[in-house]
Symmetry: C2
Subunit: 291 residues, 2 copies
């Protein structure tokens, strides 16, 4: 019988960030990057790309984030390559965040949770990203499965892209005494709900995190009260700056934020030394900025 889980995902992330810095390096083998790296557009190309990333990042960053879409593009063969890359990353001691952005309900959500969070799955990650459009409550099977083995779920709440703002900033409303009242925004309701889960709504605190784009201004919710890991995309290609990121997350506890970088590191090309130097420099820059 396994020991009871006493350490949540947030604690594991904070410990890794304390050692190496707050960077999460993307593993994004798009068709463009495969070509740029001189690799074939095939499952072998995906596998070589991913294993090279793992080798380069292993002693340099705390976490990697394989983007599932780029593997799924090549169907079963691509997912096979992802299995190899994730196994290598686990073996190398990296935290693995599967960027899958799944979301569904009931037994279907249970099946997605099983794919990405069950310790016996070939695709098991330390955390998986999920989309909350069908409701935070619909993701509950993933929260519970994650908590049972000290893993995490990172809910996309505030995306770094502009197209999602009108949905994420929409105002929740409710009827009482025949009148319509307006509540907080969708994103703030979700952040509050995640905070509640981390403060006692789940077996293990720190299980549920949130994606909060580094390109944004603060919302009403005080991120210091999230109690879970923040994954911050948007630095670099999408216009987010290191300084803006540091300001946005200034109130968060130490080790509570992972800044995602993908293109700016992967653009260094396939040379192992160049990749390692670029990732290391990005990690040090973020460490200095986020203190």
């Amino acid at each position: 019988m396994p020991d009871p889980v006493t350490e949540g995902f947030a604690v594991r992330v904070a410990r890794a960030v304390a050692v190496r810095g707050p960077l999460c390096a993307g593993i994004d083998p798009s068709a463009d990057l495969l070509a740029q790296w001189g690799l074939p557009d095939s499952a072998d190309g995906l596998r070589t790309f991913g294993l090279r990333c793992v080798e380069a990042f292993a002693d340099v960053v705390p976490a990697v984030k394989p983007q599932v879409a780029f593997f799924e593009r090549l169907a079963a063969a691509g997912i096979g390559a992802l299995e190899s890359v994730m196994a290598a990353a686990r073996e190398a001691g990296l935290l693995v965040i599967a960027d899958a952005k799944r979301g569904d309900i009931g037994s279907t959500m249970e099946a997605y949770a099983s794919a990405w969070l069950d310790p016996s799955s070939p695709l098991v990650a330390d955390a998986v990203t999920l989309l909350p459009y069908m409701g935070l409550g619909s993701l509950r099977p993933a929260f519970d499965l994650a908590a049972s083995s000290g893993r995490g779920v990172i809910v996309v709440v505030r995306g770094s892209n502009p197209e999602g703002r009108s949905i994420q900033e929409a105002v929740t409303s409710f009827r009482g005494n025949g009148e319509l009242f307006h509540g907080p925004s969708v994103e703030d309701v979700l952040l509050q709900g995640i905070g509640d889960l981390n403060r006692g709504g789940l077996a293990v605190p720190g299980t549920v995190g949130a994606v909060v784009g580094a390109t944004l201004q603060p919302s009403q919710f005080d991120l210091a009260g999230l109690g879970g890991v923040i994954l911050a995309p948007g630095v670099g290609a999408q216009g987010g700056t290191v300084e803006g990121t540091a300001r946005l997350f200034a109130g968060c506890p130490p080790g509570g934020v992972l800044v995602n970088v993908s293109r700016s590191v992967l653009g260094a090309g396939p040379d192992l030394g160049a990749l390692k130097r670029t990732a290391s420099a990005a990690c040090e820059e973020m460490s200095r900025a986020l203190g």
Copy 2:
């Protein structure tokens, strides 16, 4: 060079519904159903389950909807089984709706579109379901790729589950002259946006459809103006009735609605004749109700 596409997804669905009725049969090999059917919890079990469904449904219903999560649960091997099941369904002349509920931005969204809508992909479907949390505009790569080959995208707008209501009913807002104005709900903004895409925002009308739960009351948007296929879950296990479904979609054009049933048909068990009779009866019942 292929012929230019003149016929959108909605026209193809309407023609199939006119022949066979408005039913979309789910292919949902959950662990529970595999056990109930006496099949192993393995990729072989998934494949056998899916191929049996295709054989039973082929001459009876217009469309099938494999639930991707139940295949993904077994990682690359499971996705390999899904490839076989989808190939068999295409071969049998069924419309195939991949229930993947993907959603992302930029080149990542392009990769998901490629996986499910590129004619050269082993997973190519007639349509794929997507989640709009990151914005309807973020799904554009899928709309464009679908339109280029007469395929479709079905956006989850109004889920049949209660947990998503507060997000989907939240009220969009905007600032003008220093004041905050409230607009339509998230779900009505999305339905309006889909209607606009189908009325000229895309190369081929009828490319984009919507999931609208059969368990719901009407929203403000008049579904007769959607211009795309409605996929309606929620009949049966989730409490939706055939009569309620007929009322909710009374104003929609003929052949514009596919009612999804999964558990009530798959519960008939593995016997081919029983499966076929159950699917046929469900399809006839829906045909009578939706006229």
